[in-house]
Symmetry: C2
Subunit: 224 residues, 2 copies
């Protein structure tokens, strides 16, 4: 979420008031996508009305249809943007962990710690609950949108799997380890933990689950 704008500013010598590199239309579109995201998480996609979105965005309904072909288009664009930011979130965290330790196991343990901390902070803006939404409301979203979501899940899963294979190679164990299931565990604990933390009103659930899992990973590969 760093400050990114302001790429090429003043070529006309006159230092115009250009604090924002995006056009007016792009800003409106982004605002609509933000509002959609929040509403979908709170109420589901079917209960998210265009009427309501445009009121919050401060434009008219017809203005909405200038930006989006129809409601399905809105869903697709929202999910697309969400998936992108989500993948880059994980990539950043993974890169940081790799940076802090060369060994695959130790960097993975660091990654899990960073992940747990981040999850505790993100409280209500949980990334990933979108996956649950799309999964359980499969008739509200079209095929393209669902595919985007599931690709994201597979993407995450594949990343974890590669990493775990690397670890398994460096740390051979006596008993065989089900690395596939291990890769799934992070995702399962994330999605389930989010549900649970919302239901119980306790934001620390995911973090604690991930830390417990971290201990399991450590013990699995480090049984001296």
């Amino acid at each position: 979420m760093a400050v990114k704008a302001k790429a090429k500013s003043a070529e006309k010598t006159v230092p115009q008031v250009q604090l924002e590199s995006r056009t007016k239309g792009e800003r409106t579109r982004d605002r609509l996508l933000d509002l959609t995201y929040l509403s979908v998480i709170r109420k589901g996609f079917a209960a998210t009305s265009i009427e309501e979105l445009v009121e919050e965005a401060g434009i008219t309904k017809s203005g909405f249809f200038y930006h989006f072909k129809d409601k399905q288009d809105l869903a697709r664009q929202m999910i697309e943007r969400y998936a992108d930011s989500n993948v880059s979130f994980i990539d950043t965290l993974a890169a940081r962990a790799r940076e802090l330790h060369d060994d695959p196991l130790h960097s993975f343990l660091i990654f899990l710690k960073l992940y747990a901390e981040d999850m505790n902070e993100q409280v209500d803006q949980h990334p990933g609950c979108m996956v649950a939404m799309v999964t359980y409301q499969d008739l509200s979203f079209d095929q393209k949108t669902r595919d985007l979501t599931f690709d994201m899940v597979r993407n995450w899963r594949a990343k974890f799997l590669t990493w775990l294979h690397e670890i398994a190679l460096a740390y051979p164990t006596r008993k065989p380890v089900d690395v596939d299931a291990m890769a799934d565990t992070i995702l399962a604990l994330t999605y389930g933990g989010m549900t649970l933390s919302k239901a119980m009103g306790d934001v620390s659930v995911i973090g604690r689950q991930v830390l417990m899992f971290r201990e399991t990973v450590r013990l699995t590969f480090q049984e001296s």
Copy 2:
């Protein structure tokens, strides 16, 4: 899901055709609740229309309002019935496990095995995804309905917690164990595993996750 009907049959000597002890109205109401459950899981509550439900049930829309005050009433009754069957499902499994072994740890391990097997079988009819639905669509359901759901979660959690405390007492460990987090893990893996298995099209996810967790429990308390 055993055969339950047929309590008091023929008091009038004439052995009337009374294979079903429930009245006609009760049967219709139950059918509506079944259809609602399936539709809510597939599309969410807001996207579940009364029109559609009554068509599938073979009655008219006004017939629906004979059974339910309004749409919220439908949600409440559906969740209520669902929560009841869910609690009794867990209770049955737990009782069976206790029956098979006296020791709290071993019966718990048996319980987890039974639970894992059941989850693999229930495939599409996953109990508990209702929790995710209600949680993520909190504005579609009224307070009463949400409370019912969250009470169910707390109910489950409390049962696991009691059991784990019993185990911790019988099997003291060197390092302190976070039993609260452990109780949450079963729920988190269930809810997250369901999401994941729907997203990946792989029904075995929950079962494998629970079995991995089972191993963790065993190692935690049985480190010789």
